[in-house]
Point group: C2
Chain length 484, copies 2
């Protein structure tokens, strides 16, 4: 059928056409087709299920939600339950009291009303209290914008900062493609700085400085620096000293620091801990005057993994009142983020505490998830490193491994013949042989001539051995086929 001429694809917004989003890109769409094929023609493929390791979506792979959080959500969704006697036997006492407390902060207890465009004030107070307790420095509800996950906050900041293609945003390479997609959609320039794979994806200030000067010499007005800590797709956790240098760099260069801190609870090594950039800046004595800083957090990650609830927030500090008014205006055009996500954002920043009825079960659920993720990360890392031509850094945090695949020249040529990037060719072959979905490194950016894949550590622990076996068999066959 011929489309109406006014909406031929070549007449769409070229910024949209240019945008790419690899974690839901070509390979994932192909995987969805194969999944349908498995349903309609069972046995027609060399595997019986698709294993989505393309995206940090823990509950899709069987992770269970934290009971306390869901109890509170259910009670807030249907507050009549709070008046019923049976409720006391179905819900924990602290979930009941938390739900009551939350409902009391919502005008008219109306969980179905649009809220303030920054989010319900009482929930922002709770989030600010959680940040204060995490950092040991005060946070303010007026600085919190509750959002539908972290992504809309990132889009909002890009929309504000990017005026045209001469406005640049410094982004790590490899990066999470939300950044490249958002910069493309808003018509700006992505200014890359490379993380150093050899030093465990280290961030070198000297490289930052070089890239900044290089961009400026080309007439790019570099407006902000994106840092993802813990790293995505790279999994490193920044050292405190490194964070000091980054903050100093932003202050000296007049850059907005956009700190993606959504993996703040996902740390798997004993010698590293999460420090928010706000804590670092404040502990250096930098206040509101010194540094415009945005911290993004999400209910999708951590041990909670509540991706589908679309909750999150950004904490903005160091912006003038007129700029904050503009941020508020942009937030208000979408009215408000969803209230369920808002409530959940307040809960993940204020989980049960020692003495609460749910504390023991909450703690057990949380620890089980995080300890299992650490074991899975280690098992997959070890497995990758045992394979010919694969080298894989440790996942200190986040939810991913980003192994380098040293592809034989013959494979690179076969990819070229198939009109694919070599890592996309590899990932597609992996999918078609095993049902395992990973994202090619080219979707995140990588040093030219190197090839990677991003694989989540999220398959349930009892499935990890099978994942490793299938991956190993595929990889060995692939290398045998293409060995130079």
């Amino acid at each position: 059928m011929a489309p109406a001429s006014s909406v031929a694809v070549e007449n769409l917004n070229p910024k949209v056409l240019k945008c790419e989003y690899a974690v839901r890109g070509e390979i994932v769409i192909h995987a969805q087709r194969l999944q349908q094929q498995l349903q309609t023609q069972p046995g027609s493929l060399p595997f019986d299920q698709i294993l989505f390791c393309n995206i940090g979506n823990p509950q899709s792979l069987g992770q269970q939600p934290v009971t306390f959080f869901r109890e509170v959500l259910a009670l807030c969704d249907h507050p009549c339950l709070l008046e019923k006697e049976e409720t006391k036997s179905l819900f924990s006492a602290d979930a009941i009291s938390r739900a009551k407390q939350i409902l009391a902060t919502i005008p008219g207890r109306a969980t179905g009303a649009y809220s303030h465009s920054q989010g319900i004030k009482g929930l922002r107070d709770a989030i600010a209290a959680g940040i204060t307790s995490r950092d040991g420095f005060p946070a303010n509800a007026d600085d919190i914008f509750i959002t539908d996950g972290a992504s809309p906050g990132v889009h909002m900041m890009m929309q504000l900062l990017i005026r045209n293609e001469k406005d640049g945003i410094l982004c790590p390479i490899p990066q999470y493609p939300l950044y490249s997609a958002s910069i493309a959609l808003h018509g700006g320039a992505l200014v890359p700085y490379y993380l150093d794979e050899k030093t465990g994806w280290g961030l070198e200030i000297s490289d930052l400085k070089k890239q900044l000067e290089d961009a400026r010499s080309k007439g790019i007005d570099v407006r902000a620096l994106v840092v993802i800590n813990p790293g995505n797709p790279t999994g490193q956790v920044l050292a405190e000293d490194n964070q000091y240098d980054i903050v100093k760099f932003c202050k000296n260069e007049g850059l907005v620091l956009l700190a993606d801190e959504v993996y703040q609870e996902n740390i798997y090594v004993d010698n590293k801990k999460f420090n928010s950039f706000k804590k670092i800046a404040r502990s250096m004595g930098y206040g509101e005057d010194d540094l415009p800083l945005v911290s993004f957090q999400s209910v999708s990650k951590g041990y909670y993994g509540e991706c589908g609830k679309r909750g999150g927030y950004m904490e903005i500090t160091g912006f003038s009142a007129p700029v904050r008014e503009q941020i508020y205006k942009v937030a208000s055009v979408n009215l408000c983020s969803n209230i369920t996500g808002q409530i959940l954002a307040s809960l993940v920043m204020n989980p049960p505490k020692v003495g609460d009825e749910s504390y023991a079960s909450y703690k057990a659920e949380k620890d089980a998830i995080l300890q299992s993720l650490a074991r899975r990360a280690k098992a997959l890392e070890d497995a990758f490193n045992k394979l010919e031509g694969i080298s894989c850094n440790k996942a200190e945090g986040a939810m991913y491994l980003f192994p380098q695949i040293h592809l034989p020249q013959k494979a690179i040529e076969a990819a070229k013949a198939a009109e694919k990037a070599p890592d996309a060719f590899y990932a597609l072959r992996l999918l078609e042989s095993t049902g395992i979905v990973v994202v090619p490194g080219s979707g995140f950016g990588q040093v030219p001539g190197t090839w990677h894949i991003r694989c989540t550590i999220l398959p349930q622990e009892d499935k990890i051995p099978a994942v490793i076996t299938r991956f190993k068999a595929f990889h060995e066959a692939f290398m045998a086929e293409y060995r130079d």
Copy 2:
């Protein structure tokens, strides 16, 4: 405190600076301040509460959610409840079976997982079935994009269609400012067509045609026509014949028809009914080839009024496969809409049916809300029309009245001296005297030289007499003060 120079407000994206969103604009921000003042200094203002009539937010003014919907949401939030015996006495049997049915369509019953970027397939099937039953013409789950309310769908379409300031979108004047805001944010041109106040906000094809030709003669590439039916802020319900003409016009002129149909359940007159534009097009024999058409629906409006849940969908038909791929890509950059809102969107399109345990109570709740809204609309309309210098069309549908205020010349001069638009001056005085928050007509657009306010019909019915009394007293004093 001086802001960092890189984020001075004058260096922000000029499209953002230009964007205005009156329903959460200056007057509403002032009202929020007054509300805080009432809390901290009770008795310091001539009223004891702020009455937010600026926005269609029913539950914020006391409307209760529909019980069945909330039962299902609570069960889906905390599926463990389904295994407990007590649940049977706390929830209706059809809510329990509906929750089970919904969970069965979600892979892994994971209500906390990211879904397909168009929304969970089973929920899209349910929405498509609801549309089919409403229209008597088939709908397809592949055409449904579930969204966080209607607004993100509108933004998505504007983002796709607008390339630069020479791309135009035909919008009614008066219009809901989401459209002007979204067009401004994406840098396009709003091409206005005027609704005729004298004929009850009629839409004249001859005016449409004139505005289109006028825009084209200025080099504007007009890409789409926005129609809001039932109208916002104007409350009219389009006659079927008028809809036929609009569809024909879009087909002949190669325009995308963007049909805002979020008030489809809000109709208060016996001689009008809602017809979706898709039903109209299909009943004219127009198929996929003839007309690119997008219908927006939301869980925020209707009798459900679940604004805070941020659920909705757009149904897109008549677009080519490559264009649909681009729409999917843009949707995928935000991963998916929130699952609670997705579930609710499926419920409002498939409420309890005759024979279901909840049917009687559901029907009673729905009818009570809609009948009360009709009475409130009539009472406010009558009250406005009794006042000196005010004329108000009937609200046939939606949630608003949009009376014209014939302001005396002296009031217009006082407004000028205060550097306000005359209707904003009036609305501000109204707020400061009565606590009633309305939106000045200038936020929606109006025929130059005419002045209006938009007032929702949403205060609870027992409060309407007091609203009318307060409004009347204010208006009479205002007119006495400024009478020429």
